[in-house]
């Protein structure tokens, strides 16, 4: 009888994939790198923080296998667990850059960001995504979603960045968990108690139809291992995160003003031929096209007057207001958007793919230039879109396209400077902002930086809102305010004196000057990655202490 892979725990899964008993676990349980943030909140930690990293071979090819333990805290990514993945992938990247081929294999079983460490999860996931984009230049990054938890949240965005995804029919893959969609959008949008609906929408069998995963295999150690090996040997890559034109033309052909049936979507998908889609055109007009903090800052930073985009929620424009010519990007609300879950400035399907399209256009335009234009990202995104259509089509793929495009530009030498002028939440932030080389933030109490609304976090973690707020007093990463966010070391510059979100001359000048500094800093250090996030002074002292510990440990053990 076949030996189930799904049944195994993370460590067993890793060992099952590797050629017999040749694995060497790195930063394992005996290193006792536990999550202090969990202990501080009265939650039992695990000695490996839910991540198993092993070096070894598959089919005699060198691999690093990384697996999430789904039964520990839903496989959520916190600081330590995130840092283990980041450190492992960093080493894998270095090895490949040095001509030593090593394949990263990632076994996903995760709800995404670990809500008890929220912002650490978001930071880590963006850094993991960046490394995957970099690694794909050398080797395919293979993802396996065996099932139990499946792959959700920010880690689904990560999954869409991977070259090739293998699952069993026991897996589910989606951005927002059913309970969160229900909480945010109501039970009529998505009934989280309706198992048929859930599995028919985001279960792996449908996900193959929807081209969101690449291969469905039977649940056995043998079949998963041979699928992984084949993907490695054949260097399989579906280029899922470079697919904007395909999806934009597809979305154009669909009526998404109401829930689509699964059959009609599948049919549309089969029949669809990718077409190139025109870029959005932004023109000035007499009256503002919308009202939002992000829109105001887009105007202020580009100097455009009442700009109006042919894609009502997505803006970009050249600006001469900085020391160098830059391109400014923004996502804004459209209260009349036919995509009814994307009316308050959320990042939805169109927004993710459009941003990717725009960025790819810039990439191509600058491809042969010695100096790549900086991108200034205006960040005011209240959340990703929570909706049924969004999950059916695969909003995480849209967000991954945007994140991948930002990462690609940065890695090609475009300084990406994010300016947090409004909310920076969850998947929206991962898609639009967190791939920035440097982040700058205003000090307004109206700004929230988080992974999930308090109401949803309360439902998922089974804690009351009062309990969550009390815990935030102890643990800055789960706070919602920008002052606490600054403590994590994630900001290049915290504009403490700007305590409102207005585009007053003083405010705008301060931001422009901070952006100029940031661009110069990136240029000076030739920095194309995100390491500055955890190597700066605040991060080393208090914000990312565990990340640095894990890095040091991994450095010690990788070559041991």
């Amino acid at each position: 009888m076949k030996n189930s892979f799904v049944e195994l725990n993370a460590r067993e899964r890793v060992n099952a994939l590797l050629d017999t008993e040749n694995g060497r676990e790195l930063v394992g349980p005996f290193d006792q790198m536990i999550a202090p943030n969990l202990v501080a909140q009265g939650i039992v930690p695990e000695s490996d923080d839910g991540i198993v990293v092993s070096l070894g071979t598959i089919g005699h090819k060198k691999v690093v296998v990384i697996a999430m333990e789904g039964s520990f805290q839903g496989g959520g990514i916190g600081e330590v667990s995130g840092a283990k993945i980041i450190a492992a992938l960093s080493h894998a990247l270095e090895e490949n850059q040095n001509g030593h081929e090593i394949f990263p294999i990632i076994v996903l079983d995760t709800g995404g960001v670990r809500l008890q460490e929220a912002n650490y999860g978001l930071l880590s996931i963006s850094e993991i995504g960046n490394l995957i984009v970099a690694l794909k230049k050398y080797v395919p990054v293979i993802g396996v979603v065996p099932g139990r938890v499946g792959s959700f949240g920010g880690m689904s965005i990560t999954s869409a960045l991977m070259s090739y995804l293998i699952t069993t029919k026991k897996a589910r893959v989606g951005l927002n968990g059913p309970e969160v969609i229900e909480q945010e959008a109501g039970v009529r949008e998505f009934d989280s108690s309706d198992k048929d609906l859930i599995w028919n929408t985001i279960g792996a069998r449908q996900r193959v139809q929807a081209q969101i995963i690449d291969e469905l295999v039977t649940d056995s150690v043998e079949s998963i291992k041979s699928a992984v090996l084949a993907a490695m040997l054949e260097r399989k890559d579906s280029h899922r995160s470079e697919n904007a034109d395909f999806y934009l033309s597809l979305l154009d052909s669909l009526d998404l003003s109401k829930p689509m049936t699964i059959e009609s979507y599948n049919q549309a998908l089969i029949e669809h031929q990718a077409q190139s889609v025109d870029l959005p055109v932004i023109t000035e007009q007499a009256t503002p096209a919308t009202t939002s903090v992000g829109y105001d800052w887009f105007q202020a930073l580009t100097g455009l007057k009442n700009p109006n985009s042919t894609v009502s929620t997505v803006y970009y424009g050249d600006s001469k207001r900085f020391n160098e010519d830059v391109v400014v990007t923004a996502i804004v609300p459209d209260p009349k958007n036919p995509m009814y879950r994307v009316r308050d400035g959320e990042v939805g399907l169109v927004e993710g793919f459009r941003m990717a399209q725009i960025l790819n256009h810039i990439y191509e335009a600058d491809q042969n230039k010695a100096v790549k234009r900086p991108i200034v990202v205006v960040i005011d995104v209240p959340s990703q879109a929570y909706g049924y259509n969004e999950e059916l089509i695969g909003i995480h793929v849209a967000l991954a396209n945007s994140a991948a495009a930002y990462a690609k530009l940065r890695q090609a030498g475009h300084p990406i400077i994010g300016v947090i002028v409004g909310n920076a939440i969850s998947g929206a932030f991962l898609a639009h902002g967190l791939q920035s080389s440097r982040l700058i933030a205003l000090n307004s109490p109206a700004i929230s930086v988080q992974a999930m609304s308090k109401e949803s976090a309360s439902r998922i973690t089974k804690r009351s809102i009062a309990e969550i707020e009390a815990a935030a007093e102890q643990v800055p990463s789960i706070a919602y305010d920008i002052r606490n966010y600054n403590k994590l070391g994630a900001l290049y510059r915290f504009l403490e004196k700007i305590t409102d979100q207005s585009t007053s001359i003083t405010n705008v000048n301060a931001v422009i000057s901070a952006v100029n500094d940031a661009i110069e800093d990136v240029r000076r250090t030739n920095d194309t990655m995100l390491t500055a996030r955890y190597t700066n002074e605040i991060a080393v002292k208090m914000g990312r202490v565990e990340t640095n510990k894990v890095q040091a440990k991994m450095n010690e053990e990788w070559n041991a």
Binding site: M1, W199, G203
Partner: protein
Amino acid sequence: MEKPQRNWDTKRVQKAQRLAKISNLMTGKYVETNQIITVLEALIAPGDKVVLEGDNQKQASFLSQSLNLVNPKKVNHLHMIMSSISRPEHLDIFERKIASKIDFSYAGAQSVRVSQMIEDGKMKLGDIHTYLELYGRLFIDLIPNVVLVAADKADKAGNLYTGFNTEETPTIVEAAAFKDGIVIVQVNEVVDELPRIDIPAGWVDVVVPADKPYELEALFTRDPQNITELQILMAMMAIKGIYAEHGVQSLNHGIGFNTAAIELLLPTYGASLGLKGKIARNWVLNPHPTIIPAIESGWVESIHSFGGEVGMEKYIAARPDIFFVGQDGTMRSNRVLGQIAGQYAVDMFIGSTLQLDYDGNSSTVTRGRLSGFGGAPNMGHNPGGRRHSTPAWQSLRDQDNALGKGQKLVVQMVETYGANKKPIFVENLDALAVQKQAGLANAPVMIYSEDTTHIVTEEGIAYLYKATSKAQRQAAIAAIGGVTPLGMTSTKESLDQLRHAGIVKLPEDLGIKRSDAKRSLLAAQTIDDLVEWSDGLYEPPMKFRTWS
């Protein structure tokens, strides 16, 4: 000597009179579905002994619902005899004062209300019987006036097909048909030709097509997904330390995850011990889906079943070498014969329980719940008059006694702490309090200490039959009693002595490595795996569906 004059056929006359009242409603033996209440009111008299068929699985639900709708002024003070009290209306007829007295065996699904109604005097308790006592007494002093039963199909003449779910229907019908009782049958379907005749028309008085097929519960399906490593460890110990040790050939498994684990380990762990063909060949067993891998890999020679199991029909039909299948190709179950076989004809009974006292008496009755018994008391005891020559039976023989005889193996398998993190071992069984509350003659013990030969916990096996005194017996239970208050009374010294004497064995004594107790050892880990083993013949009901 002057012989008094009397009529010898009063019951027959009375039956004829009753049936005459509905002659205008009858076409042959048939009455219309919508006439059933009138029919019941005419045929059942106040004070009648009525058997209402509620088995473990099959329920005469149309007739029970209809009985609940009769006029209590016409029909009342019924003395109900039911093997299983399973449905709300089984109690509603007492609330409505249609019935007043009950004799039953099992009330798992209605145990709280049964307990309340007996306490409140709404239900007068005859007795709680083991199955065989109840069936037996249908022919002694609980002879029914009317029986209300269910069949799958009837033909025009009134012959019945009960098929897979024959269970106790023929026995109930027989008790009435040959003693001038009235037999009323609900049928799912009327057909021209039956697949086979399970009950002849001559035993049947009234047939009524039901509005809906009778209620049928899948009671014996355990999803392998929920089997834990502890259960696997205990199953390994049982296979090696009991099945192999005693050479158990014929047996019954109680229902539960513990026994499901054993069934799923036979083709893997059992095979690795080279036990195939040597143990567990002949079974009396409900058709547990978890037995499929053992059947498919050639472990099982025969299975006789008490009842059917939803979803197993096609699989069983395709395995007539194993199951009891009629010429028509469908299984016939028989609870009475199964119970007899389980009591008299097997080497071993093994099952779980909810409470064990310090002497090893076991009960599934807990506070406020008068659940009665399933088959366990019949299977789980050693009939004193039995004489058997199988190796397993003989292995328990007292060698010092010239007239000594063997014994049936009666094994209880429990984790020391239950799911609610409370000890399984208790000083006093809840059954005692329930006895007091309900005014029962006997405390509702399921299996008596004197019959229990082995107890298996996650810590080891206690071979209780080897204990020479009550104190030693208790020490043996304590030695495998974990950290329950009883277990904490066991010292290292006591354990060592008991191990030395072979009265207690730990996994290491059996050569079992605890780390091997993994789910990957199960021949099937999911319901899907069972379907695959069965070549797609097993069709799990919706509630066991695995989402994918």
